[in-house]
């Protein structure tokens, strides 16, 4: 381990429904707060779902329950910051569970650091992005390509960001994404005309997250974490 770096875990849940994956995140958070687990980064893709954050309202879902059934999209209220967003296959959802005191940032600075991580990752694909005052997230031209939304308990972070690699962007037309009417949403696929392999995106992200938060992570499974916690 390099001097001054904390060791942590990198857990890829793969494609997993939102509710059980969030239950895993809650268990990791509790273990972090109790000092039983090192910093942990959780990755996942979800089957189609609209999540409504604490600043959100169902009024920002524009389609009827019948349309949602036809699209096969669930709806769930969650405790991250922010309004309504879409999660689905092809979108990478990443939740770093770190202690703000360890990374030397307050919650606001941490949120913007996540944006920096995403901008660096997208720059690796020659996608030029920017931040927009008053509209958190990462933008390519006039379109949002990645969203951020976090929660903090006892100084420990959870939730994080979602990056559109190659999701079905049509689903965003059924909502006011992040509560903003007619907001344009993009993806790596839409910008480049092709999507990089998800495994490659995750690998690049791991390196950037580790450098940004001065940590090294070991790739492990949720089952291994669970066994560790139950010891």
């Amino acid at each position: 381990m390099a001097a001054g770096k904390r060791m942590g875990f990198w857990v890829d849940l793969g494609l997993m429904p939102y509710a059980p994956s969030f239950e895993i995140q809650n268990r990791v958070l509790q273990a972090r707060i109790e000092g039983r687990l090192a910093p942990t980064v959780i990755l996942q893709e979800n089957p189609p779902i609209f999540t409504i954050g604490r600043s959100g309202t169902r009024n920002n879902i524009l389609s009827s329950p019948e349309e949602l059934r036809q699209w096969g999209i669930d709806v769930l209220e969650v405790n991250r910051g922010g309004d309504v967003t879409y999660h689905g296959p092809g979108q990478l959802v990443v939740s770093p569970l770190v202690y703000l005191g360890d990374v030397g940032l307050n919650a606001n600075q941490y949120l913007h650091k996540l944006e920096d991580v995403l901008m660096e990752l997208l720059a690796n694909y020659d996608i030029k992005t920017h931040k927009t005052d008053g509209f958190p997230g990462v933008w390519h031209e006039e379109s949002k390509i990645a969203s951020v939304g976090i929660a903090v308990k006892h100084g420990f972070t959870f939730h994080g960001f979602s990056l559109n690699v190659d999701p079905n962007l049509d689903a965003f037309n059924l909502i006011n994404p992040c509560g903003v009417s007619r907001m344009r949403v993009s993806s790596i696929y839409q910008v480049l005309g092709q999507a990089p392999p998800m495994a490659e995106v995750k690998s690049q992200l791991k390196e950037i997250v580790e450098r940004s938060f001065k940590m090294e992570t070991r790739v492990t499974s949720w089952q291994d974490i669970l066994e560790h916690l139950e010891c």
Partner: protein, 79 residues
């Protein structure tokens, strides 16, 4: 012992947050670290937790109100 319940200093002190829910009510017994309230900015949810075991004696700030980080939003009488 009396405790002030504050919006946690995990965000910029100038940041304004909205109280979105009180998870506990006045008169409720709580244990140390238990969630009492949720406050949110546009993209950040902050949990306000009990500083000690005791009784939530007073809620000063109602749901929907905007306050700055560090503001005392309630009081707790420790056991």
């Amino acid at each position: 012992m009396h405790y002030d319940i504050e919006i946690p200093p995990t965000a910029d002190g100038a940041l304004e947050v909205t109280i979105v829910s009180w998870i506990k009510n006045e008169g409720d017994q709580v244990s140390k670290g238990q969630d009492l309230a949720e406050a949110t900015t546009e993209k950040i949810t902050l949990y306000v937790t009990a500083p000690a075991k005791g009784t939530l004696t007073k809620i000063f700030v109602k749901v929907g109100s905007k306050v700055k980080v560090g503001t005392v939003i309630g009081s707790l009488e420790g056991i």
